[in-house]
Subunit: 241 residues, 2 copies
DNA sequence: ACCTGAACACCGTTCAAGT
DNA sequence: ACCTGAACACCGTTCAAGT
């Protein structure tokens, strides 16, 4: 008789395969898969089941490497934060550096769509978050701010950046839900609808909104983000000794 | 034979009751019930099923009055916004009025815990949102700002207030999940843990965070909100002609 | 017009059982 | 130690059927 191992078991035999080569799971691989799903399908599509599917197994298999969904989300956020690059600190150029930092974090969060939601929710505790915190905090202190005010300023910049990115991610999700691909097209359609709505308002009760509709929809997300960032930076500058 | 209507049908009869007096549903009642649930059990506890339960029926019954869950959330948000009170506009005191407005919205959102999440997500379209918008926009324009900058400033103040309230609501949810009731107790426990964690960091890599731990946890949510609000207001003031 | 039960296609997490 | 199937207790929404 020939060795039976080279021959596939015929379907009618219904024998169970002799223990499949068992995928090797790991926290890193799980985070990889999770981030891939968030990037392509959005945060709402991320479920333990969906991640497990990526490894051809059930959700229970993930719990050996990850405590729960919340931890997985924070691990994904930390992974994303690893993408930002911090320069050498130069207190004499604190405003410029703080601006660049804020825009870099905003860019990275926006690139990964709705990871911003996690950013807003999570308390900085991973290595990358703390490194970022040390950068901003140190910069403000070295530029002459009191630790107390530097702490407050850092906190507010962080809230602003993540809050704006989060808001953006919600629009992004809405775009996806509407079946659109081009952010510009979405913005125009969206702004157009809003403008029509505003124009239809009764003039007596909403005179300003009605009159300056074009100004209300003039700036896109990027410009609005920049404007608010400058407001904050100027406020901080006014508090620098 | 006595009239059988005064006698309860015996359990073994298993007759079905002759059409119960059918609860009268309405959009208002549904929003009421929804807000009540959010206030007492949190936004995460709000589900169509949970709301329906309040009327002793299944979730399908709600769909005659509300398009879907998203619409219900926006209706709840609008209801909450109705609680803010807007004063007579006085452009000569724009900064004071804008500050009071921001704090009032923040207060109302915070009072209803995590309705802030909806606020951040939703585009202003209900009557109360538009009224609030007209107030801020008109105030800034009458104080002398260009419509374009007034539009940007209004947008950034809105993002800041709702973003901060949302962040606060996440802490609130965490407090509830930890089984605590007193926000002050939660803050102290939370800040204490954070401080311990920061103190344990390696000094070489995180010198500033490590050194000024006390300053990092000195201010609570209210003070941080106030600080950021003043940063923005000062930035806006610097742009007033 | 309004309401409903049942069904569909999902969730996160646990647990006993396997290797 | 790691992995798994099955189960538990949930979701939002649809739809045919009732009144």
């Amino acid at each position: 008789m020939a060795g039976s191992e080279d021959v596939p078991t015929p379907p009618w035999r219904k024998s169970r395969k002799p223990a499949p080569p068992k995928r090797q799971l790991s926290q890193d691989l799980i985070v990889d898969a999770g981030l891939r799903i968030v990037d392509t399908e959005g945060l709402d599509a991320l479920s333990m089941r969906r991640v497990a599917q990526e490894f051809d197994t059930g959700p229970a298999s993930l719990y050996a490497h990850v405590a729960n969904k919340e931890e997985l989300l924070e691990l994904i956020y930390e992974r994303v934060l690893g993408e930002i690059e911090l320069p050498e600190r130069d207190p004499s150029r604190w405003k410029e550096q703080l601006r660049a930092y804020a825009m870099e974090v905003h860019r990275v969060l926006t690139a990964h769509a709705d990871v911003a939601r996690v950013a807003l929710a999570s308390v900085p505790s991973g290595e990358n978050s703390i490194l970022a915190g040390e950068f901003v905090f140190g910069l403000l202190i070295e530029a002459g701010m009191s630790p107390r005010e530097a702490s407050l300023s850092m906190d507010r910049i962080h809230l602003y950046v993540t809050g704006d990115a989060y808001e953006g991610s919600l629009h992004y999700a809405r775009m996806r839900a509407a079946g659109l691909d081009d952010p510009r097209e979405y913005f125009e359609r969206f702004a157009g609808q809003l403008a029509d709505y505003y124009r239809a308002l009764p003039t007596e009760r909403f005179p300003h909104i009605q009159k300056f509709v074009d100004d209300l929809i003039a700036d896109d997300g990027e410009e609005r983000f920049r404007y608010g960032l400058e407001l904050l930076l100027d406020g901080i500058e006014a508090r620098m000794p």
